[in-house]
């Protein structure tokens, strides 16, 4: 192979290589182009899917309402919510809920749920039915208290259930002065 040929071959190789490089680099561009040619179809399909999803949201809303009205009519409905305000002194693990001595909920929290509570979410812990009259609610919270100690505390509420839905909120707050958590129950009208 003479000098001229040696120079020619690499040049040829380089030309081929660069053409190949364009193909490599353009891999995504090819994909994008392929998507672009389908874009009209895709847009129509997307619009159809969006419309279908909206109908499904509406249907779910109506189903959800029907379920609530059939299973928990307003005249007997009782809902117990749980909220966490700051919660520096207490890491929530679980809650046990008793209504008139009968356990109605025993809930173990995931990290994700606890974070959602910390960010301001309020959990609907229990939804059930109660007849009008005097009732007793007992909630027992377990978790880690100050200094990583196991912590178990209860709170009780005697309440009068009238004809109409009853909302009760269990609130875990910080009692800064005592550096302790505080567990309170609040009735909502």
């Amino acid at each position: 192979m003479n000098q001229r040929q040696i120079r020619r071959l690499p040049n040829r190789g380089r030309q081929l290589l660069l053409a190949g490089a364009l193909l490599v680099a353009g891999a995504v561009a090819f994909g994008t182009r392929a998507v672009a040619t389908e874009s009209t179809d895709a847009r129509t399909a997307d619009q159809d899917v969006q419309a279908l999803k909206k109908e499904l949201v509406d249907l779910n809303r109506d189903l959800f309402r029907l379920e609530e009205e059939i299973l928990y009519p307003a005249s007997t409905q009782v809902a117990v919510f749980l909220s966490l305000n700051v919660g520096t002194f207490f890491a929530l693990d679980s809650v046990q809920l008793k209504l008139d001595g009968k356990e109605v909920a025993n809930y173990l929290y995931t990290q994700r749920e606890v974070e959602a509570l910390h960010r301001g979410g309020i959990q609907k812990l229990y939804l059930g039915n109660l007849k009008a009259g005097e009732h007793e609610l007992v909630a027992v919270f377990t978790g880690k208290g100050p200094h990583e100690r196991d912590y178990r505390r209860g709170t009780t509420l005697q309440f009068d259930k009238a004809v109409g839905a009853k909302y009760v909120e269990l609130r875990i707050t910080d009692r800064d002065a005592a550096l302790q958590p505080e567990f309170a129950v609040r009735q909502w009208e």
Binding site: M1, G13, L18, V28, A34, L52, K54, E68, G120
Partner: protein, 635 residues
């Protein structure tokens, strides 16, 4: 190849590379628009708190359904505007841009929307418009934001504004908007990266290189920043290669991590930089490393051609010829595997296999980020060649739509079962209502509340008379009453006796007894009257309780048949809606699958064409080598 042609090829190459790197650098693709909606400082409606509880766990569908129920039932009266804003954000998160836009616009059209809410609504409208490709509309919405947005939304707004300006070709303004943006957020770096790429593309290489260098040399302590730094160095390396600045290009490409999603392309580029710097032996280092990697990657495929090219530059023609032969074999084998992939996609189940390949726990709005973090597609027949395609926004949107449809299909199946149970319950209630009817009527008939009330009124009148006449004897105990009656009888008998001393003496004794008894009764009168009044009060309470219970019994029974009828009608209507939607979901999912499978097959066919082209090039090069060797031998 003439220098100008080489240069043109390089320009195209760098342009494509920048398109690749820059296209994926838009961190803000609108897949999680609602995730940063800050909660109100105080929740005033428990139902709104319940919606947020699901929302903060990224369970957007559950949050939206609960929000719709709460809004319809008027249970969020203290969070009306925020709830509407959240609703728009949730629709956006679930890929329903049209409905989201409608919600935001309706919210903004309403009166008395606090600026904190309207600003966020305009931000999301801008995002929707930008996603739709309408930068002018996006810019208009951004212009209506009056104050700083809360939390992470503000840097996102600045990034969006910079991106919109770039889309409008207003690079100077985009650059000006980045000046002084030093809040330490990754958003500012994304904006600098995007602007750097846009400037290089538009021909303002110097300013673009400056921005990309800043991002490519930034301090990165988390995966997101490290990935962005890699992308910046990759784009910078190719921009400099285009400008024939081999040394700084090599320096930028060497900064790309060796174990990231951009490593292969960086190694390929580094080889070119070395050859440009007339160091073909050095170019072999990254290219040989690259050739050891799975051949499914496009950069690796190209390395099969690049390695023998370097050998020819080193005049090692024997090794070059061997490598070209290896390349041809590898391309043919790869092409066969692509055929298998096409067949697998054609046989169905393509999207399910893509979803199955996802790591556990992934499937929410973070799907996009999962693909982004993947260095290559899962090694399954359906997906192994599709990483670049899977990573595109439009493909992921299509995939999410498909996944949503399948989730909703499962959701409807569950509801279908529940509806059957509801229907049975309604039926049972109807039967119980019918059976209870006669018992209820008998109970209501027997409950003579009027009689009791009459007696209560009589008692009241009697007490009033006792008080008026201070009739202490009327409050006597039964024993006292017996004694009182006996005394009365005794007095009558004494009266009947013949007059005389005996009668007088007896009468005096009777009078004494009467006086004593009256004195006792009088002493107890107030206490006894108070007891009687307390007793009457209790009677009143019990009568009221009985009245309330009877009213409840009457009402409970009164509405029951109507309610049961209405429930039965609703169950039937919802059942019909489910039945209508089920085949539509199935058809939409199948259409989605077909659409994306077609796109995937076209992508694979393009890859096959590329491999065929590589194989042809390798064969030509091989032929040229043989030709050269033969010519040399002949001489």
């Amino acid at each position: 190849m003439t220098p100008s042609l080489v240069h043109r090829c390089r320009s195209l190459l760098v342009g494509a590379m920048l398109a690749c790197a820059g296209g994926m650098a838009v961190a803000d693709d609108g897949t999680q628009p609602a995730a940063d909606v800050p909660p109100p400082t105080r929740i005033r409606d428990l139902d709104y708190g319940d919606v947020l509880f699901h929302f903060f766990q990224d369970d957007y569908f559950a949050a939206l359904v609960r929000l719709e129920v709460a809004q319809e039932a008027g249970r969020v009266p203290d969070h009306v505007a925020e709830a509407e804003l959240l609703s728009g954000g949730l629709y956006l998160s679930l890929g329903m841009q049209a409905e989201a836009k409608r919600r935001f616009e309706a919210l903004l059209a309403a009166r008395q929307v606090p600026p904190s809410v309207s600003d966020r609504a305009y931000f999301y409208l801008a995002r929707i418009a930008f996603q739709r490709g309408d930068a002018a509309d996006a810019w208009q919405s951004l212009g209506r934001i009056r104050g700083a947005l809360p939390g992470k939304l503000e840097p996102e707004r600045r990034l969006l504004a910079a991106n919109v300006l770039m889309s409008l070709g207003r690079f100077q303004e985009a650059a000006a908007s980045l000046d002084g943006w030093q809040d330490g957020s990754v958003w500012a770096d994304y904006a600098r990266f995007n602007l750097g790429v846009a400037l290089v593309r538009s021909g303002e290489a110097a300013r673009g290189v400056q921005l990309l260098t800043a991002v490519g040399t930034m301090d990165a302590r988390n995966e997101e920043r490290m990935a962005l730094r890699d992308r910046a160095n990759l784009a910078l390396g190719f921009a400099l290669l285009q400008d024939r600045q081999a040394e700084p290009a090599a320096a930028a490409l060497r900064r790309v991590r060796l174990d990231g999603p951009f490593t292969n392309r960086a190694l390929l580029g580094l080889g070119w930089a070395e050859t440009d710097a007339s160091r073909p032996q050095q170019a072999l280092v990254p290219w040989l490393e690259l050739r050891e990697r799975p051949v499914v990657d496009a950069a690796v495929q190209e390395a099969y051609l690049a390695v023998p090219y370097a050998y020819t530059r080193l005049a090692a023609n024997g090794q070059a010829a061997e490598q070209y032969r290896n390349a041809v074999s590898a391309y043919v084998a790869e092409s066969r595997r692509i055929d298998e992939s096409i067949a697998a996609i054609r046989s169905g189940g393509f999207l399910d296999s893509v979803l199955d390949a996802m790591p556990e726990g992934v499937g929410g709005p973070e799907v996009a980020s999962w693909f982004w973090q993947l260095s290559r597609a899962p090694d399954a027949a359906h997906t192994r060649y599709l990483y670049p395609l899977l990573a595109t926004h439009s493909f992921q949107e299509g995939l999410k739509d498909y996944r949503d449809l399948r989730i909703m299909q499962a959701n409807l199946e569950t509801w279908s079962g529940s509806l059957e149970a509801f229907a049975a319950m309604v039926e049972a209630r109807e039967a119980a209502g019918q059976a209870l009817g006669p018992r209820k009527a008998a109970l209501l008939d027997a409950a003579d509340l009027g009689g009791y009330e009459q007696r209560r009124a009589e008692l009241d009148a009697r007490v009033a008379q006792i008080v008026a006449t201070r009739d202490v004897a009327a409050l006597a105990t039964p024993e006292e009453a017996v004694r009182w009656s006996a005394l009365h009888a005794l007095e009558a008998r004494i009266e009947a006796l013949p007059a005389g001393d005996q009668r007088t003496a007896l009468a005096e004794r009777a009078q004494l007894l009467r006086g004593t008894l009256l004195w006792q009764l009088d002493a107890e009168y107030k206490l006894r009257l108070s007891r009687v009044r307390t007793g009457l009060g209790q009677v009143d309470e019990e009568l009221a309780e009985a009245r309330s219970r009877l009213t409840m019994v009457e009402q409970a029974g009164g509405d029951a048949p109507r309610e049961t009828e209405s429930f039965a009608a609703r169950v039937e209507e919802l059942d019909r809606r489910i039945a209508r939607l089920e085949p539509r979901i199935e058809a939409a999912a199948a259409a989605q699958e077909r659409l994306l499978a077609d796109i995937a097959v076209r992508e694979l066919e393009a890859q096959k064409a590329r491999l065929a082209s590589y194989a042809t090039q390798a064969q030509f090069a091989l032929a040229a080598l043989y030709d050269g060797a033969a010519t040399g031998a002949a001489r």
